[in-house]
Symmetry: C2
Subunit: 354 residues, 2 copies
Amino acid sequence: MSTRPVAFESLHRFTREAFRRFGLSETDATTGADVLVTTDAWGVFTHGTKALAGYLRRLKLGGLRPQGRPHIAAQGGAWATVDGDSSLGMIPSVFAMKTAVTKAKEQGVAYVGVRNSCHFGAAGYYAWLAAREGLIGLAMANDIPSVAAPGSRGPITGSNPISYAVPAGRHPPLLLDMSTATVAGGKVYTARTRGERIPDTWLLGADGKPTTDPSGYPDVGALQPAAGHKGYGISLLIETLSGILTGAGFTWQVGSWMWDEGRKPTNHGAAFLAIKTDLVMPAAEFAQRMEALVDEIHAAPRAAAVERLYVPGEMEWERHAHAIKHGIALPDDVVVNLKKAAELAGLDLNTVFA
Amino acid sequence: MSTRPVAFESLHRFTREAFRRFGLSETDATTGADVLVTTDAWGVFTHGTKALAGYLRRLKLGGLRPQGRPHIAAQGGAWATVDGDSSLGMIPSVFAMKTAVTKAKEQGVAYVGVRNSCHFGAAGYYAWLAAREGLIGLAMANDIPSVAAPGSRGPITGSNPISYAVPAGRHPPLLLDMSTATVAGGKVYTARTRGERIPDTWLLGADGKPTTDPSGYPDVGALQPAAGHKGYGISLLIETLSGILTGAGFTWQVGSWMWDEGRKPTNHGAAFLAIKTDLVMPAAEFAQRMEALVDEIHAAPRAAAVERLYVPGEMEWERHAHAIKHGIALPDDVVVNLKKAAELAGLDLNTVFA
């Protein structure tokens, strides 16, 4: 098994072909591949092609419907609710953000909620879709409970990610993609897989106390909420906009895309917002103001031994540029999972490394 | 000076009358008083009537315009931008959220930005305005830089608060009001005033390293962002929606309502969002789902020695109910500042404690 960098296009082709073999249309397979491989290119390996095998398994067992068609279940002037038809989570999510962008271009702002979806990968991809069109984008989703509330013994909410992207003129878009837990569950699970200890700020054990041992996760314990009641509070807002408001499952009603029996839809919810940047000034002036903000941060005084101050997404965009030029250096655990995906799809993983 | 509880109505009347004496209309004075005294009733004393004397000083010097009239500078289907006309920050904020609610009732969701505003007090009050009308509300604002970015020596963004409120059926509305710093600057300043040390997670010293000494704040050092890059990232989203997008000041362009020379407008920005709850189901069904979420959290297993699990705002609503019934027990530093306000306004503070 090689760990030399793989070309973005090779990994994209492999992922697309794997989805094709499980019954997705060329368009949907391309969408799924683009989300996962872009995520790897950002260096967010917990949410990229590492998950491909898990999605393929659900597509095979029927919990994800290969021919599912996301559609608008209800809509009004500046909003819509999309029924994901239990298709691969990336498909209704892209559909929903494109709908939000279209409506926001007319109304200034738009909210689109999604139900009957599944794990959608990295929230940042969808926020970026809006920024590529010159709009501010927000994306968020709920998930199975894995995160504690202050004082709880065991999980209360999902790690409920939230992301935003803002066009920033000559700079790449600002892009934040964060879990409302201290860390994404995928990082704890990766540490468990690698047999590593974790910082005591990540996880609570069965007794509700901090632990450095990830070996029981996710069956035992709960992630710690980021900044205590703040992360918990934002997580409940995400649960409201993604799960409660859309008619999706919420908290324990949501199925695990990874652990549950693969025949049942998970009924994840998600929410997308798009906002135009030229509401009271030309888009170019908004861009200049964003550039000035970024330039100001770059020029600000730094603490000792700190070489640079970053704006959100800056590291990811530099990795992305490097990945496009020099390929993506996949961690071993991603390669292990890609091998599983290749076996499931009857594809030769070596073609990716060729 | 008495520290026995004061009646909500007495403090409201005193605050209203103080604003009246500085030239505010009866309506505006009532709005200002309602925001500040409700905030005290929630127990958020850093953002309540403690600030009254500071606002009066700016009203006297002209940085706040007593007769300023917030108005819609531009608008479209689901958005508006309000020019605050340098009036007391609560006035354009209430006007903006009411505008957002009206537009959201038509379009499903609405965004209203504000420029030429000032410090608006507790963000939660405006989010609650939407929840009182049966909508989900979000409120946020920028402020003078006081919070570090990861790696910075000195402040980069404001403590940029964000708040949301969600109607929750038979339960009081979910209500989160948080600074994107580890703590609100007001808490550090209160510790300085009281001569207390602070936890080492609140503040960075002049060298960019954590300190427990608040005595230099706010001239020296910077607050730590909540959850590091996460709080910093959310703070920049708030800066974008409140400051950049609206044409308000951003980062160092914003004036300090407390420290700057009081003749100049501060040009704070703010942003308000309202979302209907009956988009795809009757409002009553949404309320039932929110009730189920809250009930589920209340019934969840607790860590040892934890008596209750709270949802956001629950503690504040219990304090509010107690305050309405038994009065508000004002901390000494609030009473000290109210005495200053009484002197400025030529009012007798003893009437409040009568």
